[in-house]
């Protein structure tokens, strides 16, 4: 178990910086998610830490030791590959034993530790199978056992859940989290899925074009995205450019105004107003609207299982997306396109992001 420190890490391909000056400190036992769209440099960063890609500049420290120039074999890192990368010609037990054999441990100790590792991922019964006879979820667990059995100082996971179906992904997510906590192992994992990052990481590092865009706890990144990019990535669909006025209103570029703060007197500034779709209140025709509510019309309704997504147009011509829990059976029906309603935007649902 160790800390990890990246110091001004750079990876250049031609004249493109795939990773562009990343500095990051990971505390012992922390589970950090590198989150971003494909091409943001997250995988290259992970592969540099693993030693598979050479850093163009900067340094990587694991437990205070500079490993930047060490080959992967000497970094003592457990690496979980997206394709699992199990050795196809070796049984499950031989796969798990490989790292211990490389460490020249006595045969008896290897057998004992392999059994322990397989118990931890509940695959003891599969020890003699070949990887091709295992399901995707089982292969993933073997790859995890193989990476962890060497007691690495650091665990790196590259999109560990992307090849699993939805139900297995949920189970695996819990399993990875539980094993990681139980062993207290410092872990960095790469994902493009914000739900995955939010639900298992202690800390989320959002990357964009080779740089860190935002770094914080899942709660803070979700609730307070600091840029339009992060907001969009976190599922904020309503991003309205305009000006925050001293009155506490936000003046949109089309002239309409939304009250977003009870405090008046703040300085005016150009910004983007972010409103999470699930925080917009809908008052149906007949209900009494609040004093600041805006009249609006439903343009489209999309059923999404647990929620319904409405595309709205306000009286002032503003387009917004609102997400509501799906009405219970026997309750009010889904709103139809064309329905006239009022919407309320709670002031605490509004977030100002620098333009």
């Amino acid at each position: 178990m160790s800390t990890v420190a990246l110091r001004s890490l750079v990876k250049r391909y031609g004249n493109v910086n795939a990773v562009d000056d990343i500095t990051l400190d990971v505390a012992e036992g922390q589970l950090v998610a590198l989150l971003g769209p494909s091409g943001c440099g997250k995988t290259t960063t992970l592969r540099m830490i693993g030693g598979f890609v050479e850093a163009s500049a900067g340094s990587i420290l694991i437990g205070g030791t500079d490993v930047t120039r060490l080959p992967p074999a000497r970094r003592n890192i457990g690496f979980g590959f997206q394709s699992y990368a199990l050795f196809p010609h070796m049984s499950v037990a031989q796969n798990v034993a490989f790292g211990l054999e490389m460490r020249r441990l006595p045969r008896a100790e290897i057998a004992q530790r392999v059994n322990q590792a397989l118990d931890r991922v509940r695959l003891r019964a599969m020890a003699d199978r070949l990887p091709k006879h295992l399901s995707g979820g089982q292969q993933q667990r073997v790859s995890l056992a193989r990476a962890l059995v060497i007691e690495p100082s650091l665990l790196l996971l590259d999109e560990p859940l992307s090849n699993l179906d939805a139900q297995l992904r949920g189970e695996m997510k819990l399993e990875i989290r539980q094993i990681q906590k139980a062993m207290g192992i410092t872990t960095i994992f790469v994902t493009h899925d914000q739900d995955e990052a939010l639900s298992i990481a202690d800390r989320i590092v959002v990357m964009r074009s080779g740089r860190i865009e935002q770094d914080g706890t899942p709660e803070s990144v979700f609730a307070a995205p600091r840029s339009r990019f992060v907001a969009e990535f976190m599922g904020v669909t309503n991003l309205l450019p305009g000006t925050f006025e001293a009155s506490g209103c936000f003046r949109l570029t089309n002239g309409a105004a939304i009250r977003i703060s009870d405090q008046a007197g703040a300085p005016e500034r150009e910004s983007v107003l972010a409103i999470r779709p699930e925080r917009i209140r809908i008052a149906r025709a007949g209900a009494t609207p609040g004093p600041d509510d805006l009249p609006a019309e439903i343009e489209a309704a999309t059923y999404r299982g647990l929620t319904v997504e409405y595309r709205l147009r306000t009286g002032s011509g503003l387009h917004l997306t609102a997400r509501q829990p799906t009405p219970a059976t026997g309750g009010p029906t889904m709103l139809e396109p064309g329905a006239c309603i009022h919407i309320g935007v709670p002031t605490d649902a509004c977030l100002l992001i620098p333009a």
Binding site: P72, A73, I77, F79, F81, F87, M102, S143, I150
Partner: protein
């Protein structure tokens, strides 16, 4: 046309083509059992005598031994050179890499007789300069057959290397394996089917070669194919058919086995 009709037409055409290819082979095996003194239809009776005659003919026996020895040597040498070369071609990044891979297609488009003549001229040139006997020696023949087998070995091995998951090598490295251990414990076992196929295929390619060998064999040292051609100059009896039938059996078995390891159709 309905899809069933299309499928039936395909099936019929395929069957015809297959019959066209197999017919000569079937016929030669069949006539090898004819009792006729000269190869001709119809059979005047059936016998195994031609097989006994073939076995008793020195030129065929010696030719067979030379061919097998040459093919074994060519196979071993082409694996020894071809596997490291394939690793370099697939894993390495160096100028001329693509050109080399294209050049390796040459044996498929250059007629064998042209290749043989070229080798012969090259040998003579080297002999003239080094005052060394090469053409007509066993060494010259072995080098030539290694050259015949090598492109095929490299094609089969590079194909299986290219389709192997690179991540398993990284996984082994991250678990503490040195580059040499990665090669020995992970890369080579993962491409073993390709290597087995390459070995069998190299053997066959060398064994059946006539056009190149004909320039390079020396007195008293002929391959089986050349022994066959020589024999055909003077006689046309069942012995030739018997020798051919045995070869069909050997080559067919080798190709069937190698196809089990690596789909040959993917290599061409």
């Amino acid at each position: 046309m309905s899809s069933t009709a299309i499928r039936r037409t395909y099936g019929a055409v395929s069957a015809l083509v297959l019959a066209f290819i197999l017919l000569p082979l079937v016929v030669i095996v069949w006539v090898s059992f004819f009792a006729n003194r000269i190869l001709a239809f119809p059979a005047s009776g059936y016998t195994l005598d031609w097989y006994a005659r073939a076995l008793a003919t020195d030129s065929f026996r010696d030719g067979f031994v030379t061919s097998v020895e040459t093919a074994l040597f060519a196979t071993a040498a082409s694996l020894l050179i071809g596997i490291p070369a394939s690793l370099g071609l697939v894993r390495g990044r160096f100028p001329g890499r693509d050109a080399i891979q294209t050049l390796l297609l040459a044996p498929m488009v250059v007629p064998g007789i042209v290749g043989g003549a070229a080798l012969f001229i090259a040998y003579i040139e080297v002999e003239a300069r080094l005052d060394l006997q090469i053409a007509g020696t066993l060494g010259g023949l072995l080098v030539a057959h290694t050259l015949i087998a090598l492109p095929w070995t490299i094609r089969l091995v590079t194909a299986s290397l290219a389709s192997a998951d690179r991540a398993i090598e990284e996984a082994a490295a991250s678990l503490g394996a040195s580059p040499l251990t990665v090669l020995r414990r992970v890369t080579l076992p993962a491409i073993r089917p390709g290597i087995v196929a390459a070995a069998l295929f190299s053997f066959v390619i060398s064994f059946i070669d006539l056009e190149k060998s004909i320039f390079l064999v020396g007195p008293g040292r002929t391959t089986l194919q050349i022994a066959l051609v020589n024999y055909l100059e003077w006689s046309l009896d069942g012995t030739v058919a018997a020798v051919a039938a045995v070869q069909i059996l050997i080559v067919g078995a080798a190709l069937l086995i190698s196809d089990r390891y690596a789909r040959l159709s993917q290599v061409f």
